[in-house]
């Protein structure tokens, strides 16, 4: 009897439960979300910035309120640098009790786009609980809170945790709508713990803003992803762990000072060059070492190393396990905020392209090799007692040295070996006045399609033509000149006619991608341009040291954007009457992925002073910048200028 009534009772309850199950689940979820928001809301403050710039590059920086999160009871508040990018005259924080307080910027975490503020407070402020990163699960509920629409109530958007370990290990990702409405606010879990602080991050790391300020992340570009379903937050657990350090000093991404050998995406983390006077050099890392562990992370592929280094700051000590031959060594470099300026060293030769090993094609007059007595036709055997295997290997070895270093060279001339010493100099900026033509192989060139050839990229709608010179010989190595015309002037035949003779005499293939929008280049066209270059390298015999992106006016800005973004591919940028786009900033020197720049402008150009500023800044960073003056009146390039540019490209495989 007892049992029977129990059964009935539970059945009744069950069916009631199920009847309302969906509604109940919804309302339970809703109640849980509200409770989670309410738990953190007292720690979420509104920040108002007064005065300052209204524009960072082309991005209009809103002067609306932004959000911050209390991180210490005595008044430390963390926020996103985005809302304070305009260098405000003063900053006001509205505390949860409604009191407005003036705030001061205490410090910045430049690698994560965060700003630490301080307000004076007589009472202890509520500090939220941080959710441990270890326990976070992709797919769990996330709430993004802001306090921008009203100071008295938080605004929220709801989503799930999309990924952990994003932006080189610095951020978590959510599909909740993240925008200036909640940058600086917390990303909260269903229990009301803070997962992270919302910030517009972007995987493109840059070194300098347009106004020359040193930063590690792109100041505004992450914002292009606002409300897109891709939003980032810096884990609060991490912020707490570094808060004492951040209070004392600005934090930057830590720099090690190595370049990894280009061996495809899955390749090992083998060191190609070690920058002089860098933490890597001080710790004793050498070219050829393979990094197999960084801190506690096993490294089998080079991208894993980037992930392991990504979260680290200058001042952090890194424990590396490296394999050197049969040995395993433990080395502990201490990272730096920035490396000493690097200038690419130069031996002063052009190598023959068809030769075994390194045979000198041309010696730069007055350069280190000329001073050391080297002559065209000499074959280099050894550099500092290591065998010279080929031009690329020699170029990397020279990159690991320093200007002013002495390079001991063993070479062979007319069958006899000799030794000499060359004192390295910086890469030259002047265009050689005259170069001997590259050698042609003997015999008939294999048959190939020449003329204007349409390049089809399967998944892309955009048009692209390549011009292959009539005398194309697939056994030779060609330079690839990617020409980006100014807006609205795309006519492949015209451009071909301008370059035809030069392509034939200077071994150049011309590539003519068109913008997706016929009237102008959009930053997103960069991906299409890259695909057309990749395709050309597959189709034609391209010397990878001579891939150059060249543009006029709007196309020139696009050339900078493409060249800076695809460092693994582009070796030269030729920008005519165009400046570096304000929005993108300039990248670092990379000893392996060399990049040379040629600018051409006339004094009458509206951009003349900005271009000069770019030249100065690029040189300051260490890029070789060649300047072609176009006289007083603005004009496009003439035939003579094109010949100069072609010769500049011909010399890009210099060592």
């Amino acid at each position: 009897m007892m049992r029977h009534s129990f059964l009935t009772c539970s059945l009744a309850l069950l069916s009631t439960t199920v009847v309302f199950a969906e509604e109940t689940l919804q309302s339970l979820e809703q109640a849980a979300l509200r409770a989670a928001a309410a738990r953190v809301a007292p720690s979420v403050v509104q920040i108002e910035a007064i005065g300052g710039l209204e524009r960072i590059g082309k991005t209009l920086v809103g002067d609306g309120p932004t959000t911050g999160l209390i991180v210490s009871a005595d008044g430390l508040i963390i926020s996103s640098a985005f809302g304070l990018a305009q260098n405000p005259n003063s900053i006001l924080v509205t505390l949860p009790d409604g009191k407005r307080k003036p705030a001061k910027i205490v410090s910045r975490d430049n690698s994560r786009m965060l700003v630490l503020l301080q307000v004076d407070t007589d009472v202890d402020l509520p500090v939220p609980e941080a959710a441990p990163v270890e326990k976070m699960q992709v797919g769990e509920w996330t709430l993004a809170l802001g306090r921008t629409f009203s100071a008295s109530e938080v605004n929220l958007s709801v989503g799930i945790l999309s990924a952990k370990d994003r932006i080189w290990g610095t951020a978590i990702q959510t599909d909740a709508k993240i925008s200036p409405g909640n940058y600086g606010g917390p990303l909260v879990d269903i229990q009301g713990r803070v997962l992270g602080v919302l910030a517009p991050l972007s995987p493109d790391i840059e070194l300098y803003t347009a106004d020359g300020k040193r930063i590690d992340a792109n100041l505004t570009s992450g914002n292009e992803w606002y409300d897109s379903g891709i939003g980032f937050a810096v884990p609060l657990e991490h912020i707490f762990s570094r808060l004492d350090q951040l209070k004392k000093q600005e934090l930057f991404k830590g720099r090690l000072g190595i370049a990894i050998k280009e061996t495809g995406v899955g390749g090992p983390a083998e060191i190609a060059t070690v920058r002089k006077k860098s933490p890597a050099a001080d710790a004793g890392l050498q070219p050829g070492d393979v990094i197999i562990r960084a801190n506690d992370q096993e490294i089998t592929r080079k991208l894993q190393l980037r992930h392991a280094l990504g979260p680290l700051y200058g001042g952090d000590t890194l424990r590396l396990l490296v394999k050197r031959g049969a040995e395993e060594l433990e080395l502990t470099p201490t990272l730096l905020d920035s490396l000493p300026k690097y200038v690419q060293p130069f031996l002063g030769i052009l190598p023959e392209r068809q030769a075994e090993g390194v045979v000198i094609r041309w010696v730069y007059p007055g350069g280190p090799a000329a001073e050391a007595g080297l002559l065209p036709g000499d074959r280099l055997l050894q550099l500092n007692e290591s065998d010279v295997e080929g031009a690329d290997q020699l170029r990397n070895s020279v990159s690991s040295l320093d200007i002013e270093d002495e390079a001991q060279l063993k070479y062979i001339r007319n069958g006899s070996e000799a030794n000499t010493i060359a004192r390295l100099s910086p890469l030259p900026e002047a265009i050689p006045t005259n170069l001997p033509p590259a050698k042609s192989p003997a015999g008939e060139a294999p048959a190939a399609q020449t003329g204007l050839i349409e390049i089809k990229i399967p998944e892309e709608a955009g048009n692209c033509f390549a011009y292959v010179p009539e005398n194309y010989d697939a056994r030779k190595s060609y330079g690839l000149l990617v020409y980006l015309p100014p807006a609205g002037e795309v006519k492949a035949e015209t451009i071909r006619d301008e370059w035809k003779a030069i392509c034939e005499s200077q071994d150049l293939i011309l590539l003519l991608p068109e913008p997706a929008t016929p009237t102008r280049w959009e930053p997103s066209d960069e991906a299409f341009i890259r695909k057309t270059i990749d395709e050309s390298i597959k189709l034609f015999s391209i010397g990878e040291n001579r891939v150059v992106v060249h543009g006029y006016q709007g196309g020139g800005a696009m050339a900078y954007l493409t060249g800076f973004k695809h460092r693994d591919l582009v070796r030269g940028i030729v920008a005519v009457d165009a400046g570096v786009p304000l929005r993108i900033g300039t990248p670092e020197i990379d000893p392996i992925n060399r990049l040379a720049i040629l600018t051409a402008a006339s004094e009458g150009s509206k951009l003349y002073s900005r271009i000069n500023g770019n030249v100065e800044q690029l040189r300051e960073i260490g890029f070789p910048v060649t300047v072609l003056e176009l006289g007083s009146e603005p004009r496009p390039l003439a035939a003579a200028d094109r010949i100069e540019i072609a010769r500049w490209i011909d010399a890009l495989d210099r060592i």
């Binding site: 059945l11 809703q30 928001a37 007064i50 209009l60 605004n155």
Partner: protein, 343 residues
């Protein structure tokens, strides 16, 4: 929740399951999300009218609010033609007449010739959404639905309830009332006039037009609360025309100014020169209360002033007989002053 215990649950579990299944089938018509959505769809209307040039779409959304075919929609250029067509979710096509519009609240009421139309009843004041509520947005965004295709449904949450403050030109809109801000991409081309409901299908609001938030330079997704629209709709239906009451902030004929208070600000050198005090006239109200050069004025009354011009404008809204409350920043400290005009 009491569950039957293991030892004696053989037949009981089967029975329970059967009951569960029965209950779900029986009641799904009222409670599941798909059923809520299919109840709402017949109330939605696709509206076609003027536009089609220079990137202006010639369509928008609307929904039925009466048995006799009244449609609530957004007031826009799409209605600016004699031939407005309304298409129901079953594909029936009607010529729609404009009954009336309230351009200030950005709404219009249309009428089609129909009887017994499925419709939303305009709710009373209790139908209010709260921040965090889950919501559904029905509209023909991007004109994806055509003919007998139902509207597109998006789901999301109410992010915030706020006012579209027209005052500082934050939003370029004539509507400056309260809105629900949403965390879904609801306000795209053609979505204006769509319906916002809760997860039970109760009408909460009407989707607004595409709108750029000039404060954050981002696009805003929002809906106008139906409780605020209802009196306007009632007026349109009754043929009453409301005056534009309180459309403009009243500016008293005799109002305050910098000169009257004795404040000289630094000159206007930037687009937004911050209101820094350059000089205080001796014997002025500002001097007697202790304002000093280099003070930065942050608030006039409750309103923040970002620039010299905004401060001058704010003062012009205050009657000369009333006191002016200024909050200034001096050496990282906020100080309040109350100034009274002497003349």
């Amino acid at each position: 929740m009491p569950l039957p215990r293991q030892s004696s649950t053989g037949p009981c579990v089967v029975l329970t399951l059967a009951l569960v299944l029965f209950a779900v089938t029986e009641l799904s018509a009222q409670t599941t999300l798909p059923s809520v959505i299919s109840d709402v769809q017949p109330k939605m209307v696709k509206i076609y009218g003027a536009g089609g040039i220079r990137g202006l779409e010639s369509y928008q959304s609307g929904f039925l609010i009466s048995e006799e075919g009244h449609i609530l929609t957004a007031w826009s250029y799409v209605l600016d033609t004699d031939y407005v067509t309304a298409v129901l979710d079953d594909g029936r096509k009607f010529k729609a007449e404009t009954v009336g519009a309230d351009p200030r609240s950005d709404i219009a009421v249309l009428k089609i010739d129909i009887q017994g139309a499925p419709h939303f009843s305009l709710p009373d004041a209790s139908s209010v959404g709260q921040t965090g509520d889950r919501v559904l947005a029905f509209s023909n965004l991007y004109g994806i639905a055509a003919g007998n295709e139902p509207s597109s449904v998006l789901h999301g949450h109410i992010s915030a309830k706020t006012d579209l403050k027209a005052r500082k030109g934050v939003f370029e809109t004539t509507y400056n009332g309260p809105v629900y801000v949403l965390d879904a991409m609801t306000n795209n081309a053609g979505a204006a006039g769509g319906a916002l409901t809760d997860f039970q299908g109760n009408l909460l609001g009407m989707l607004g037009k595409e709108l750029l938030n000039s404060q954050t330079n981002t696009w805003l997704n929002f809906a106008l609360p139906i409780t605020d629209l209802k009196p306007r709709v009632d007026d349109i239906l009754a043929g009453r025309v409301r005056r534009d009451e309180a459309a403009q902030r009243p500016r008293p004929a005799d109002h305050h100014s910098l000169q009257r208070l004795g404040i000289v600000l630094i000159p206007n050198v930037l687009v937004k020169t911050p209101p820094f005090v350059e000089k205080i006239d001796t014997g002025s109200p500002a001097a007697s209360q202790g304002l000093q050069p280099d003070d930065l004025v942050l608030f006039v009354g409750p309103n923040m002033v970002q620039s010299r011009n905004e401060m001058i404008e704010e003062l012009s809204y205050i009657d000369r007989l009333d006191a002016v409350k200024l909050t200034v920043l001096r050496d990282q400290e906020l100080i309040e002053f109350e100034l009274i005009s002497q003349d």
